[in-house]
Symmetry: C2
């Protein structure tokens, strides 16, 4: 069976076709330009696969995912020029008479990691996936389902206690200044130090400051959701960085609640090279098809 995946990012789109074992059969990517052009390219790509049985889209946001809303399937009030109020699912439906699943990019990644964990025989019902890249966002699965009654979570924008050595930094979130995204997104390296993150050795103190904030986010989500694991993906994240995050997390948590082995609780994605969303999309498309 052929299943379609769209990973709709603010910078680029990744479209892929796979099977019910979540294996990629074909894949393409193109830059995110205007909605018309980018969605046309998406449609053109999938038209090459007339056997396609379902499509899942994991999109940048904010998006409308309340099925009873007239704007269901839209990208809503994004600051990205041209993209506010874009009927994404409607555009696909015009050309494809197959079930279409619609969720956020980070939900797609969370679901991919959830499915992979299950395939690796982890007995879990919940998972949180954070991406720390150009922006910061998170998707969550609770009791096997996505969460969000009034809309999708915006966990990238929680407020945190400031690090004593970082009090002068205003943060770069255009909405909140020093929220999580404003303090740890990739471009904060340039804002703090004038250098890109990839050019700053992990021994630099700025990485301890980063880890302090990321650990706090992990603590918040632990106390509120009690998930089975927290996965961190995105360009900023490395195993060396997560070691620092785990150390700060343990100190802040102080054994207050049981999370098992922290090395298995705070982890890198099982799917390499930020491919979690594609796996998630195949699984969600299959689920939508079987519904």
């Amino acid at each position: 069976m052929l299943l379609g995946s769209v990973e709709a990012g603010g910078t680029k789109f990744v479209c892929a076709v796979g099977n019910e074992d979540y294996r990629i059969i074909d894949k393409t990517q193109f830059p995110t330009t205007t909605p018309e052009e980018t969605l046309q390219k998406t449609v053109d790509y999938f038209k090459k696969f007339p056997e396609l049985k379902a499509i899942s889209v994991a999109s940048f946001g904010p998006i409308e995912l309340r099925q009873n809303s007239p704007k269901y399937g839209y990208i809503t009030n994004t600051p990205k020029p041209g993209w506010a109020n874009t009927d994404f699912v409607g555009r696909l439906k015009k050309d494809f008479d197959v079930p279409i699943y619609w969720t956020t990019d980070v939900n797609g990644s969370a679901y991919g990691e959830y499915v992979m964990a299950t395939l690796f025989n982890e007995k879990i019902n919940s998972l949180v996936y954070y991406t720390i890249g150009t922006g910061v966002g998170a998707g969550a699965i609770v009791n096997g389902h996505f969460i969000g009654d009034l809309g999708h979570p915006e966990m990238g924008h929680v407020r945190l206690k400031r690090h004593p050595d970082d009090l002068d930094f205003k943060g770069i979130c255009p909405f909140h200044g020093d929220c999580l995204e404003g303090l740890v997104a990739g471009p904060t390296f340039e804002a703090r130090t004038g250098k890109k993150g990839q050019d700053i050795p992990l021994t630099d103190h700025v990485w301890d400051i980063m880890a302090f904030y990321v650990a706090q986010a992990a603590i918040q989500v632990t106390l509120i959701l009690r998930p089975a694991k927290i996965v961190f993906g995105g360009g900023v994240v490395s195993e060396t960085f997560l070691k620092k995050v785990r150390a700060q997390f343990k100190e802040l948590l102080n054994n207050y609640v049981d999370v098992g082995d922290v090395d298995k609780y705070i982890v890198m994605p099982l799917v390499k090279e930020n491919g979690s969303a594609t796996v998630g999309d195949f699984a969600l498309a299959l689920k939508e098809y079987n519904k």
Copy 2:
């Protein structure tokens, strides 16, 4: 049909018997002394109702609610003298051969409010219930179910940004100092001012400080869970106080995500006099019976 409810608090137990309309038929309460004595009184009470079809317990914690744990049904590592490692459900099962549901006190209250909202025709799938009394805790329902894969949430212990006029206050949480509970539980009034909360007029600035912290907790839970509503119960909470909380919440949220009408989003319990857990217990006992 007769259903049993135990609201097991650290100070007192409230036992009640009701019907499938969640109406109380009989009710009693007694102080929480030793586990032996208190659980014996609970058993003796329900023995008067041989028609009882199911019991639900909403207990102070921490408790073990993972069904695959050998300690399922226990109160675990509570600091309350004598109560650590108490097999609560096991004690009831010795005397009652009926289904027994087991959850936290705040989950019980959350479920009661959820059921009541549904009876009032609110179309919701999620809800968070905070109690602000001697301690602070919260229960949550997502997609109609409780959350927590590794255990129940501990939302009372999240960390917050400190209010500029409150920086000298160390907080009273024995574990964390200035977590949410450490900053807004009832006894913080005595700790800050030497007077009880009930003796401090709502015009006093200390109430603005309280509202600032409670609003932050509401923001965290909004961004992480996107619940349909947040209910605040417990001795500290009044409608006048919630007005202050809503004002600070709106300012902090700054329309970043849509929560609808804040007056309907941040609310007092529908069930009066902290009776939400009893209604929740009846509903959970009925659900357990029908399973």
